[in-house]
Symmetry: C2
């Protein structure tokens, strides 16, 4: 079918936007920013074979393409304003586009983050997806990676390990167990950006990051940018219940190094503990204190007996692991 680029945009992606915005269809999209706010912006590039399987449900892929970017806004404490989508496709596949745009727009609507522009183009072989999001954030409470201080508690949201196990089963890296895959797959394919959490902890937490490359690696970015160290009790990290039947090696790798999780890891002074408990109750989302920041550089991992243990090998690095 010889649909043109312009048909694709209006058929699948053009939606009404607020009156102070100019949406899809001009050289640029326009939006207004509330005075006193900064604009937070983030982009991610997702490629077939590298970041998603070719046969993934397009509705879930549309959801995830936006979710991973909204997760960056969440980790900054920002409120979504709008997004842009770049899509390179080897061919026009209407059912695929319908599914992808449905999944994308459902999350955009739910997150109050309308699609206001972008670019569609033909690719020679693989699908490439590029999403840019914009959010508003009060600069005084933006959750920067550099803001952690020794003595801060280290907190995580949610439960760990499910997306890594699902990914490794689908990729054939660990033995397939259908029942475990069934219980973990949605965590891989439909991650929930923690936007409400990010905005709730802004002003109370100091540093924050979303877990895209694995807990140890992403926490490492906070340590590096804040110039601090950390001591973490591995046994306190909450594990997804579906992982209980797996070997310790697989479970430890998934929990400590597994990427694609999109929960938040953040630091806050101990005086904010009650506040965090109340936020956790209000949002119906587990928040768990797993350790503290220290003035001694490096990451010390402890077991439940208080002994230092060696971390499993590394997180996910887009160029190192290939």
């Amino acid at each position: 079918m010889a649909a043109s680029e312009f048909d694709l945009i209006s058929r699948y992606f053009k939606r009404p936007v607020a009156s102070d915005m100019l949406g899809v269809g001009d050289d640029c999209a326009l939006f207004t920013v509330t005075p006193g706010n900064q604009v937070a912006t983030s982009m991610d590039l997702l490629l077939e074979h590298q970041h998603f399987f070719s046969d993934v449900d397009p509705v879930r892929l549309g959801h995830k393409s936006l979710a991973v970017n909204l997760s960056d806004l969440a980790a900054m404490g920002a409120k979504p304003i709008a997004c842009l989508l770049g899509l390179a496709l080897p061919r026009v596949d209407d059912p695929w586009l319908q599914g992808f745009s449905d999944g994308f727009h459902a999350l955009a609507k739910q997150s109050l983050c309308p699609l206001i522009g972008g670019d569609t183009t033909r690719s020679s072989r693989d699908i490439a997806i590029s999403v840019t999001v914009f959010g508003a954030v009060n600069p005084d409470v933006a959750l920067k990676r550099s803001a952690g201080e020794p003595g801060d508690d280290v907190w995580v949201s949610g439960v760990f390990g499910a997306p890594d196990v699902a990914y490794r089963m689908l990729a054939g890296l660990i033995p397939m167990q259908e029942e475990i895959l069934r219980q973990t797959r949605a965590a891989l394919e439909m991650p929930l950006p923690r936007l409400e959490l990010g905005r709730a902890i802004a002003g109370h937490a100091r540093a924050a990051i979303d877990i895209s490359d694995g807990l140890l690696q992403d926490l490492g970015h906070i340590l590096e940018e804040s110039g601090v160290g950390t001591r973490i009790d591995e046994s306190l990290v909450p594990v997804h219940q579906a992982l209980s039947g797996l070997s310790e090696d697989i479970r430890r790798h998934a929990v400590l190094c597994g990427g694609d999780l999109y929960e938040l890891c953040f630091t806050a002074p101990p005086s904010e503990r009650e506040k965090m408990v109340s936020i956790s109750h209000r949002l119906g989302l587990p928040l768990t204190r797993i350790g503290e920041l220290t003035s001694i550089p490096g990451l010390q991992l402890m077991n439940a007996q208080g002994h230092a243990v060696i971390p499993p090998g590394g997180g996910f690095d887009h160029f190192r692991d290939a």
Copy 2:
């Protein structure tokens, strides 16, 4: 070489940014917007084989990746604020990255459009480049495609046809003529975004678009969005001097339908003619009046004798031409 994603970012792309910005290295980049301005934003996705040849000079590719996006800001009358870069690479090639980042940053610096974030990742086969730009624009004078009115003059900047001829020679679609390629290649590989022009005509011009897909096709977007028609004198469109030795067919296609030009096409009331002449002199850039908008729908193309002529077949459509 096993360079990690983080090394790549800091080695090639991290640069100091203004004190009211947060640049590369956090979940989001942050920037401040001047009160009363809107943020204009645009993104383009460029793919190896589709949008550039694999052996193109990486310095020129870095320049062009940013230039095509800045051109969208120019066509809106916006002033650049900052940009994001997404880069998917099949391997880490240091000389290539050095060249690409040099070309990108040279234009970013010249355009006062610092790189403040983005994403690098591994691709399985081809290079993919995604650039998002942000600019500030006064909403009262933003050059929207929908703002054209019957009676407006139709103007174009610069000279036409060179990038299309260079592209078609390099792609083997028309016979190679080394001397003509030598004279036209820079127009294809190092387009100059017309940022100063866009800001100068904002408040005087009505509708504007940058010519990425060909004059007739891009002007067609103004007609459609503004609900008007146009009458254009083909003989008035300024032609690059290197095209004089080419056949009429090749020249007409290049001038009227050739993409990748990044000159501006805009409309303005006849009362603004003197202003346009003075802007042209000040910027040292030809501005040429090639026709007018009409209330009769459609595009009427005339020759120098005032007779209606048939346009060459279409512009460039990313999905139709493949």
